[in-house]
Amino acid sequence: MAVALILICVAALLATGIVAVVLARSLVATSIVYGATSMASALALAVALAQVIGAPGDPSAVILPLGLPWVGAHFRIDALSSLFLVIVNLGGTAASLYGIGYGRHESAPGRVLPFFPAFLAGMNLVVMADDAFSFLLSWEFMSLVSWALVMAHHRVTENARAGYIYLIVASFGTLCLLLAFGLLAGPAGGYGFAEIRGAAHSSVLAAMILALVLLGAGSKAGLVPLHVWLPLAHPAAPSHVSALMSGVMTKVAIYGFIRIVFDLLGQPDWGWSMVLLFFGSVSALIGILSALMQQDLKRLLAFSTIENIGIIFIGLGLALGFRANAMQWAAALALTAALFHVFNHSLFKSLLFLGAGAVLNATGLRDLDRMGGLIHRMPVTAFAFLAGAVAISALPPLNGFVSEWLTFQAVLVSPEVPQWGLKVMVPTAGAMMALSAALVAACFVKVFGIAFLGRPRSTIAAEAKEVDRFSLAAMLLFVALCLLAGLVPGLVIDAIAPAVQLLVGARLPVQAQVPWFSIVPVAEARSSYNGLLVFVFITLSASFVIVLIHRFASRAIRRAPPWDCGFPDPSPATQYSGGSVAQPIRRVFGSLLFLAREQVEMPPPGDTGAARFRVELRDLIWETGYAPIAGIVGFAADRLNRMQFLTIRRYLSLVFLALVGLLLVLVVWL
């Protein structure tokens, strides 16, 4: 029933996409298309929520006579799918609501409108697919449509390059998944997920499959070192699409990983959890440090996505390790933490991208160093962005803290694993995670402080206007959800529990029974957290102090020029810029990771010319990993290019030689 309803919504989304092709040139198209999209998504969201809350353990399936004739298209919703359907459609609803306002400013609506609903449809289909063929088809559909959205402003050179790299990495990822499913299905070729689940996989085969899935889903999720496309492609798309790509599509990739590794593959060896922990912690650290070095707001947010994906993979790695050691309750804790972070990140990263879009809309700026003081001119956007920044920095009482807290709790139960490798790896990953969590706070102090606080650094920023109601409504919706998930995290944990039960065979205790909305993952003597109470305490003590001082002491206020130690400078250029806020951290970490070099060129004494300060950062992953491959491919292509300009005689002789060669091979072979 549920699956049929959502398929109808998907069909409605696809139909909206087709209608959009026809309508694209008309003025009302934007409102109609985004309105229809948000309604279809909201309906799908309602169905998915009903499934999560109402009948979590009750899968619903449907087989459509599409696709391969002997397979058909299987679609099924179980606890895991319904969870991700909620995430996809929540993001979809809000992003399309935002689009009603944001889309009006689109210069080329014909390049966005048809693909936007199709993109949502594709993500829904991936999450519902129940056989390898539909899964791969939907996956590739999702990739291609999102590529089209990345290329919406294709005349910008940067975007064209981003689209090109995205296309290559996405094809590579799908290829890996294709091979993985081939191995999963085995020589008998059972492509349905039910058949794959039933088949046994030898340990060598399982290792090959896991490596392929890590490459395929990891490249889509943005795991280092397969992340290079992400900070290029996500910012290139229109902002509500960036929100979907960063907030939702990376989650669909995580879904693919969880579905195959935790559900279809059986029991991988514990060693793989080391691999996941390693790549997870490296992604977390490199992601956030790269984010700190950025000046482009949207690119910075894209790098921060890589960090969050790293944290999710740390949770998944822990869950895999615990499950391999038959510590089901610990695996349940780690997986709950990972899934909670998936949900949280979909909320606050979408929120932040929508906020970046609002700034882009109001000022046309993505460069942090030309913003400033936007809190005065865009108060609601600033508030929403601040809430997103607090949430992503894992500060209580918002939601980001809860999932990090759960991951830390999962780290703390791991001394009981027997393997020495894990005993060393887990605390190291925990330390890397703590380090990146602190750096996230630094990063978002920089973003909010430079973009929204201070004095405007350009006239455009000084004349910005608050954005439209739809955009604000979408952002405030996310703010409310971030707060809700932070104050009553027990509800989210209970909603995740059926999926966790399905995947690792255990779940956390029911949190709804814990009094006062506390969460108690293991036992109360061990650890508990109550976001609601912390929030109430902070509010009460702050109000208490405010009332006390204002009532009994002074409430007088006087506005005056800034003090600045007696030397206020009228020029806003003397403020700290994005680069200077990050400078101490660049000096501490950058010299190793980015081979950062700072050069100061001072004019000689007496000369009034400008001094120059140059920072040089290098992307070592691109230089050592990708550039050589690109070089080899380019070299080979150049050589092969000569083959295009031969005479017909030469071509005929080549054909003849090839034929002889093949015959010789055949002779030797037989």
Binding site: H376, L533, S541, A560
Partner: protein, 318 residues
């Protein structure tokens, strides 16, 4: 009955930390001055300063936003809640289950987040310099602190501070290498977090060497008072944390009589005085570091704490 006692203890604790915090700072200042052969301000000077500040009008920069005016109260509230959750003279805090040690660290992180933002709000270069250095210091101090928390949690089997403190009072803790490493790391973190010498100088007004003072440069009147009170509370919090974990003598258990509570409060005050004197002696006997030496200092703290955690993962007995 138990609930009433719990409420009283919790409420009493919140008041005690608030009332004692300026005194601790006063003691440190006085002892430091005496060690430098100055007469120094009276012990109660911090209270007088706070009273004077809250009675004055607040001068706010023309282009300051609402965040600038709200931030002091948020910073104070987050620090106060965190300080109220650290056991001082009794372990049976009624609300200790609402936030464990990790949450306390994160609450202090929230306070710092808003302090750094407030520093950047007016758009002056000093605010920016303070904020950017503060987040750099925090980016190393916070993970070190989390690793210390990990070590304690692995030893006590809980991240609840009351449980940890209770476990530390019991006989079967013994001397452990990991505890020693954690103690050193925690002290280093505490020095950095409280802007003490050698990381930062709380008394300086030499702009380029200061971190915390640079962020609050634009504040005046009641806003400054609230921020100052928050930093007094933070110092008290770290001292209480160190005492409750590494010197848990005299802390009152649940259900003890009024005499025990009286003794508990007295012992606590004595511990604070000793800690204040030690801090002052330490501060006068060391020079302030350059800002870019601080990462090495805190990196050492992080490594020590990580080593302690690794030891706990390897063997439960060290």
């Amino acid at each position: 009955m138990a609930v009433i006692v719990g409420f009283l203890t919790q409420g009493g604790q919140m008041l005690v930390v608030l009332l004692l915090a300026p005194l601790l700072t006063g003691v440190v200042r006085k002892v430091k001055a005496r060690l430098l052969r100055r007469k120094g301000p009276p012990l109660l000077q911090p209270y007088l300063d706070l009273l004077r500040l809250i009675r004055k009008e607040a001068v706010v920069a023309e282009n300051a936003s609402w965040l600038f005016r709200v931030a002091p109260y948020l910073i104070f509230a987050a620090t106060w809640v965190a300080a109220a959750l650290v056991p001082t003279f009794a372990t049976d805090l009624l609300f200790s289950w609402s936030a464990d040690l990790i949450a306390i660290v994160a609450l202090l992180g929230s306070a710092r987040f808003f302090l750094a933002l407030a520093g950047m709000d007016v758009g002056t270069s000093f605010g920016g310099i303070g904020a950017s250095r503060e987040v750099m210091i925090a980016s190393l101090a916070e993970p070190a602190m989390i690793m210390v928390v990990f070590t304690l949690a692995l030893i006590a089997g809980s991240t609840q501070l009351s449980t940890v403190a209770g476990y530390m009072m019991s006989a079967h803790v013994g001397l452990r290498v990991s505890l020693g490493l954690a103690l050193v790391a925690l002290i280093m973190v505490a020095i950095a977090e409280n802007a003490r010498i050698p990381v930062d100088n709380p008394a300086t007004h030499l702009e380029l060497t200061m971190v915390h003072e640079a962020m609050v440069l634009e504040y005046s009147g009641r806003h400054l008072a609230v921020i100052e009170a928050a930093s007094f509370l933070k110092l008290l919090l770290y001292v209480s944390l160190l005492c409750s974990v590494f010197a848990p003598w005299g802390v009152v258990h649940a259900g003890a009589g009024p005499v025990a509570y009286a003794i508990g409060v007295t012992v606590y005050v004595v511990k604070l005085a000793v800690a204040g004197i030690l801090l002052a002696v330490f501060e006068v006997s060391i020079a302030k570091m350059r800002v870019f030496r601080v990462p090495e200092f805190l990196g050492a703290a992080l490594m020590l704490a990580l080593l302690a955690t690794l030891l706990m993962f390897m063997t439960r007995s060290l």
